[in-house]
Symmetry: C2
Amino acid sequence: MLHEEVVGRVRAMLLDGEIPPGARIPERDLCEKLQISRTPLREALKVLAAEGLVQLLPNRGSRAARLTDKDMRDLFEVCQGLEALAGELACERITDAEIADVAAAHAAMVRHYGEHDLLQYYRCNRYIHEAIIAAAGNPVLSGLYELVTARIRRARYVTPMTPRRWALAVQEHEAILNALQRRDGVGLSHILRAHLRHKREEVLQAGFAETEPLEQARAS
Amino acid sequence: MLHEEVVGRVRAMLLDGEIPPGARIPERDLCEKLQISRTPLREALKVLAAEGLVQLLPNRGSRAARLTDKDMRDLFEVCQGLEALAGELACERITDAEIADVAAAHAAMVRHYGEHDLLQYYRCNRYIHEAIIAAAGNPVLSGLYELVTARIRRARYVTPMTPRRWALAVQEHEAILNALQRRDGVGLSHILRAHLRHKREEVLQAGFAETEPLEQARAS
DNA sequence: AAAATCCAATTTGAATGCAAAACTGGCTAT
DNA sequence: ATAGCCAGTTTTGCATTCAAATTGGATTTT
């Protein structure tokens, strides 16, 4: 197994909640599960710690990072900035084919909204946001976006919405697609920021932060 | 030596150019120099690779990353976005004392400009930009900023300027301080973007990218 | 009985050792 | 003379090993 693969596997376990936030990560157990020795696993853990997904406690091992309310606020704030930037750049650089692709995803999303299928709705939603990032044509931006969104992914794409909030989100997405089709960078940037600001409020109100001080179960 | 210290030491060697861009990094040599064994060094290299400062070639070791023109452009573009965001947030959150601190650094910078002391000028310049980031009060933002600026630091704070460019930069900094003092977030955001756009043009014109395909000398 | 202390057992952090892959230089064949 | 190839050496990647730190619990002390 390649280094990047190990990092990817452990990252997936963290993002999927297979290793819950705050859980200690006993190296030996994970090694056994991944069928590798401690050396490459420890390399992966240090990388994930640099990404903010793992917290290293010197001489006391590592644990899955936990997000406070402040962390969540900060991450969303930066995410707003990154998406706003991406929106502006995307309007300058996106191709007609890519716009059509986003439009299709948008239509599918609206369909899922009509069917009250939250899971599929979120899948399309995420696809659209990521397509806008990709359309900015800036790998550095994409990389940072991935770093930031990884940490708030579960809060962002799992939190249930009130009918009122959901309707508003769909409306905002109409405006997003519209701005993109008109290649209105400034407009897209603004609507994306508002959209994410609303999402942040929603997530914070839902109390999604992972601040429980109690000891979590270890990874199964 | 602690893990973070190893990462820091190697990162410093990369940023200082002690290990020049493109140079191969023989693990044994670095181990000897740092007086550590290969295991912790390799952990540090993987972290630095995740940061984009080191390039890992599977089974063929690692080398100091080299920036192409495109990389430089992308990094500056993102840096613009981050500083613009920080500027807006800073105007909402900065204290009077912090503004006074920036004003003092600005005055010192102008003095160094008058003395044609580029090195000291750049030092104050960098201090100001970092103070604005810090004033945004968002550690996630600060972290990403550090990631991005580390990679363009040498291009940004070493490139010589024409008298004309230098005068313009000072003028822009007057506007930056002014917007900050008026707590004009939108204005600060705009002037910061323009300021960095100009810097980027300058750096790219100076041909600062590290694209030489020839084999570099190894770390001394 | 509660608190502090000490000791065994576990776990982490780092060095070493070993197998596999890549580079070097010299040789052969065309 | 040059291109291709092969053995020897070096370097990487990972498993193992060893020392140091931590944890939990039993024992002792107040």
